[in-house]
């Protein structure tokens, strides 16, 4: 009996059909489910990171120990206040939200800069005043990944230490 060499055209077509089906199925799943899921996950992670950054800002403001607070610079894009013997500032530059700590006197000296969050299109500080005293600050973060949905956080300023 002669040995069988190769395979028949029918077997080849059958194998080819199965391979084509499985490849089509795999590509369909990857395109329709996995890639959009990864995109949504990246967006969620970015927005959660901005919420964490806003939590840090709230914590920083709530941790002010001096009453009344000595504000050194209050602009829509930068906020600097005195905290003991040094100054603390928050600003947005190069699409990053930064926290600066050092000495501010018409400019930063001996500064330590920490990047709190990245991927920010714009960060705006809006102060709320009552009798020329700042009673609250609203931080609006516009993420690069979803510019239609800004993250807004409001924090009240303690006017006097509780006795």
């Amino acid at each position: 009996m002669p040995n069988k060499k190769g395979f028949s055209l029918l077997s080849f077509l059958l194998y080819l059909m199965f391979f084509t089906m499985i490849m089509f199925f795999s590509c369909h799943i990857i395109v329709s489910l996995i890639i959009p899921s990864f995109s949504t996950m990246r967006k969620c992670q970015s927005i959660i990171a901005l919420h964490i950054a806003s939590d840090l800002f709230v914590r920083d403001i709530r941790a002010i120990k001096s009453y009344p607070c000595h504000w050194k610079l209050v602009t829509p894009h930068e906020l600097i206040w005195q905290e003991g013997d040094h100054d603390v500032g928050w600003c947005c530059s190069d699409n990053r939200l930064e926290r600066k700590e050092g000495i501010y006197n018409q400019g930063w000296k001996h500064t330590t800069t920490s990047v709190v969050a990245a991927g920010i299109k714009q960060a705006t500080f809006a102060v709320e005043q009552h009798n020329k005293v700042i009673i609250g600050i609203e931080l609006t973060l516009i993420p690069l990944i979803d510019q239609k949905k800004p993250i807004i956080c409001y924090v009240a300023i303690k006017q006097r230490e509780k006795t």
């Binding site: 949504t40 996950m41 969620c44 959660i48 009673i135 009240a156």
Partner: protein, 67 residues
Amino acid sequence: MKPKNGFLLIELMIGLSISTFFILIITHYIIEVKVTQQKALKRIEAFSIARNKSEKILAKNNSDTYA
């Protein structure tokens, strides 16, 4: 004994079934992570809105008390 050349159709089908199963498991895992993240984000946003409201009330109370 006759030597075996290539593979059988049944072996191919088993291989394809296993690979499909793995693809489905990985897809299911990724979608599950995505859904969990979306739920977490909804909760974080709800907490953020609640904190904003409470902070606004606190700021108003502070301004009224120490005016």
